[in-house]
């Protein structure tokens, strides 16, 4: 066996091992839809593997045969030529049959993938360069709220996401849950999925959207239905008023130093629309669209110099003394 075949096989064997560890993997399905896609993929992979092996075996046998020794190039055996022609056409017909069957397999998978449930929980995601605005819709405006860069969904219930863009084209993709769908300027797309297991799944923008395309991720957190309802009720409320003196100072700085011009914190005077809603930033898992974990240290690093971590994003570097920085971190951290 040549070395490259061995290394190829080794990679194929290693494939499921390496791929299942990440939280952002098409091979680690955690929803009906991603399972369905993996199922289709495995059928295609199997057929492809068989076809490729057959081609290589026939090619190898053909090369090892010893024929035509001493024959001139144009001395052809007519019966062989005729038989070869028939075999080639037969193989062509087989190929046609295989692709037609695969087309139907694909279409069946597609139909169940895009099946719609009218009772799905609806949320709307608006893509921005380079973050995700998330709106939870409900029957009444009192139950609707906006958050950013994180979606929470109930396990076992269909979720419908309406996708729009505020600027360029982005693509919504949580491989563990389902395939991707583009967020296209001037049109609304839809995608549905039903998570199977609770967990945190990472999603990432998949359509090139400019300078910081690489840093446009988000977390999709699947919760048990009762946990989800509790979270939703909490998220719908306005921000808590800070009690600790440092956090109070942080709130004033947030207003006074221009943060509030771009960010909204519901229940306060901060009502900017350019950046993500920070009402409950203290309970999110990441900041800067999945770029950093939401820890006090990361928050500090981000606020101190956003242009170092994510060059080109809209957030400017604000001149802050270290005491002021700590106060703002304190304030944001307690926005649970």
């Amino acid at each position: 066996m040549p070395a490259w075949v061995r290394s190829g096989l080794l990679l194929l064997v290693a494939l499921p091992l390496v791929a299942c560890t990440g939280s952002q993997s098409a091979l680690d399905p955690q929803a009906l839809q991603s399972e369905q896609i993996r199922h289709t993929f495995i059928i295609f992979l199997g057929v492809s593997g068989i076809v490729w092996s057959c081609v290589i075996v026939v090619l190898g046998v053909g090369l090892l045969r010893r024929t035509r020794i001493g024959q001139a190039p144009l001395e052809l055996r007519l019966p062989f030529e005729a038989r070869a022609g028939r075999v080639i056409l037969g193989l062509g017909a087989t190929t046609t049959l295989i692709v037609l069957v695969l087309s139907f397999v694909s279409y069946a998978g597609q139909r169940s993938l895009f099946a719609k449930d009218p009772d799905a929980l609806t949320l709307k995601i608006i893509g921005h360069q380079w973050w995700w605005e998330v709106r939870y819709k409900a029957d009444s405006p009192h139950n609707s709220f906006t958050t950013a860069n994180e979606i929470r969904i109930p396990v076992g219930k269909p979720v419908k996401v309406e996708l729009e863009s505020a600027d360029v084209i982005h693509s919504f993709w949580v491989p563990s849950l389902t395939g991707k769908m583009d967020l296209i300027t001037g049109q609304t797309n839809e995608i549905q999925f039903t998570a199977r297991n609770p967990g945190i799944y990472r999603g990432q923008c998949a359509e090139f959207c400019g300078l910081q395309h690489a840093h446009m991720a988000f977390a999709a957190i699947a919760l048990r239905p009762d946990e989800f309802e509790r979270w939703r009720e909490h998220e719908n409320q306005s921000a808590v008023n800070p009690t600790a003196p440092l956090a109070k100072q942080g709130e004033e700085l947030f207003r006074g130093r221009g943060c509030a011009l771009c960010h909204t914190i519901r229940g306060t005077l901060a009502g900017g629309q350019l950046g993500p809603d920070l009402t409950h930033i203290g309970s999110r898992t990441t900041i800067a669209a999945g770029t950093l974990p939401r820890t006090p240290a990361a928050l500090g690093a981000w606020i101190a110099d956003p242009q170092h971590i994510k060059p080109g994003n809209l957030m400017p570097r604000m001149p802050l003394q270290s005491g002021e920085l700590i106060a703002i971190i304190q304030y944001l951290e307690q926005l649970k």
Binding site: G22, V55, L59, S106, H213
Partner: protein, 637 residues
């Protein structure tokens, strides 16, 4: 015609071998000196320039690939800034597609097709010169812009609205769009020349079913170019209009549509893949016949497959848009049409394997590259069937899985045959053999390097790694496979260094090649290596699909062509029966001047719409110069 004129018109049948050769050479040769070089209309001179220029762009694009692979070899690498990285991947894609892959195939056609069909020059030789200059200027324009930090950064596909003025206020997107215009003009010109050369200038007796398979493949490709390129020219022109004079083709707030761009781009973009791949299949068929020591089995099947591929390639552009929210039934139909193109490609592969099955393979470097092609391309074709499936595509679209897929198709399907073709035709073009020892190094480095570089990308894509990201974090678990891929990329790059070293060494020290060093069967091997300016002293008559195997040293020839002026023989379309003798243009400086005027016009018009106004008169003047009657014999008659 007067008596005196008739006497002056010496025909080739009045002269003996050496006398005729010397006379034709003095008529057909490129004038000496720099001015002469700039005036050349010899398809071999222009073809050689085209090939060398395209390979230069390959080296440049390859260096960018290495930069990207270094950047991605480790998590959170900061070698390239995001801004530079975006320019680098855009330049890599644009260079490889527009300045290397398409031009290099056309370059080989410009050199080889006239020789293979047995004529003295390509049809419209001055247009050919113009085409080369446009290609050269367009490529330089792109790369000089890049060096001045105005390189495009919107991807080789330049999706709106990212490429609109609002999100890309510098000139970067304009540079990209106008580079397209340059290369499309060049490509369309060559397509016209190829079609006319194949239809009207074939040697007598070269009926449709005796046309060499590479020539068939280039004929199909030329038609693809003619139908696909106008779509991208409309796209790039409307983009420039949007950016320059505020038309609103792609602005949804004024009734424009951003998806329109994707339709126009991919209606060109998908046939583009076949514009690159089909010529490569032609090369494979030629190399295979020579080294399997027998004609390719299934000539009609291969020709019909080429034509079928050409037609089908226009019916599958939507598979690039499966995640844009299309109606599901439509998407499903495009799945079927995309998979169906596997049938003609499969038929060709079956024919080649059958040829090898019955043949007596001679394992020289060109054949090694063809075998490598089959192994790699079949993987790429099968992963292509996977991405044609809508459900699978929703996962792998815009991930490294697709990056792996199309490199398997484009490098495996086109570059491997191309390198094989370099080894195969180098002796014809340069008169010396390439070193076989270095050739083997070249092949095995390329084969292992390529697979190590690109196979892991399939897995990375499934592990969730999107394309066009300048970095990733360690927690994603993508680092080891990326590092492996980068090591493979360096190996693959080394294989091209070996090729370059081999070419430089062999040009000086290689074994001199005779007319037909591989004992091949087609007409380009019936003349000297390298061929004289007139290609053939006497135009051959073709009596068999494999003329040199059938007739050997006693190839019948045509008599009666002028030995006083440039003349080619025109034949009928289907049966290649001689029709008339036609004058072929003399060298001229005007194609270069026209190209310069056009370049000024094109570059000016990304800055001001007025360039359209003041840029036109110089073009008109140069075109008048180009077509000014020179008082040649034909004009007097």
């Amino acid at each position: 015609m007067s008596m005196a004129a008739e006497q002056r018109d010496v025909r080739d049948d009045a002269l003996h071998g050496l006398q005729l050769a010397a006379r034709l050479e003095s008529i057909w040769r490129t004038p000496p000196g720099l001015t002469g070089a700039l005036m050349s209309v010899d398809h071999k001179v222009i073809g050689r320039r085209y090939i060398v220029t395209a390979f230069t762009f390959l080296v440049l694009g390859g260096l960018l690939a290495i930069l990207m692979r270094i950047q991605l070899s480790g998590a959170e690498n900061r070698l390239l800034s995001p801004d530079l990285y975006n320019q680098v991947f855009t330049m890599h894609g644009s260079t490889m597609m527009f300045l290397f892959a398409v031009p290099v195939m056309e370059a080989f056609a410009v050199y080889l097709v006239p020789l293979m069909v047995g004529t003295r020059n390509i049809a419209f030789p001055r247009l050919n010169a113009f085409s080369y200059w446009m290609f050269l200027f367009g490529g330089c324009f792109l790369w000089i812009s890049f060096l001045f930090n105005v390189g495009p950064d919107v991807g080789w596909f330049a999706y709106t609205p990212l490429s609109s003025l609002q999100f890309n206020p510098s000139k970067r997107a304009d540079v990209w769009a106008q580079m397209i215009t340059f290369t499309e003009v060049a490509a369309l010109a060559v397509a016209v020349e190829i079609i006319v050369t194949v239809f009207k200038q074939r040697a007598p007796g070269m009926t449709l079913d005796r046309i060499p398979l590479f020539v068939w493949s280039m004929l199909v490709t030329a038609f693809l170019v003619m139908f696909a390129m106008p779509s991208i020219m409309v796209a790039s022109t409307t983009l420039i209009l949007d950016r320059l004079v505020s038309t609103r083709f792609y602005d949804p707030s004024s009734g424009g549509n951003v998806l329109l761009w994707q339709h126009l781009f991919w209606f060109f973009g998908h046939p583009e893949v076949y514009i690159i791949f089909i010529p490569a299949t032609g090369m494979v068929s030629m190399i295979l016949a020579t080294f399997a020591r027998r004609p390719v089995i299934g000539y009609p099947v291969i020709v019909l497959s080429l034509i079928a591929t050409g037609f089908l390639s226009f019916g599958l552009w939507v598979h690039h848009m499966f995640v844009t929210g299309l109606p599901h039934l439509a998407a499903g139909l495009f799945t079927a049409s995309s998979m169906l193109i596997a049938v003609p490609s499969g038929l060709q592969i079956f024919c080649w394997i059958a040829t090898l099955w019955d043949g007596r393979p001679v394992y020289r470097t060109p054949l090694l590259f063809v075998l490598g092609f089959i192994v790699i391309f079949v993987i790429g074709g099968l992963s292509g069937v996977m991405v044609a499936s809508v459900p699978i595509d929703t996962q792998v679209h815009d991930t490294y899985f697709v990056v792996a897929h199309f490199h398997y198709v484009l490098i495996g399907g086109a570059v491997f045959p191309l390198v094989g073709a370099v080894y195969y035709w180098f002796p014809k073009i340069c008169g010396r053999m390439l070193s076989e020892r270095l050739g083997r190094w070249n092949f095995w480095l390329a084969f292992f390097g390529f697979n190590i570089a690109f196979f892991p990308m399939h897995i990375l894509g499934l592990m969730g790694m999107p394309r066009r990201v300048y970095t990733y974090t360690l927690e994603m678990g993508w680092e080891r496979l990326n590092l492996l891929s980068s090591v493979g990329a360096v190996m693959f790059a080394l294989s091209f260094a070996v090729l370059l070293a081999n070419a430089i060494y062999s040009l000086r020290k290689g074994t001199p090649a005779n007319d037909n060093p591989w004992d091949a069967s087609t007409l380009e091997w019936a003349t000297a290596s390298p061929p004289p300016p007139q290609n053939f002293d006497r135009i051959p008559i073709v009596t068999h699909r494999e003329p040199l195997w059938a007739d050997g040293d006693t190839l019948p020839v045509v008599a009666g062509l002028s030995a006083e002026r440039r003349e080619v023989l025109l034949t009928s379309l289907a049966e290649a029966e001689p029709q008339i003798r036609e004058a072929s243009p003399e060298p001229s400086i005007w194609p270069l001047l026209t190209a310069i005027a056009t370049t000024i016009f094109f570059i000016g018009s990304i800055f001001t719409p007025w360039a359209v106004l003041w840029g036109t008169p110089p073009m008109a003047i140069t075109l008048i110069g180009w077509f000014w009657p020179t008082g040649s014999k034909e004009d007097e008659e």
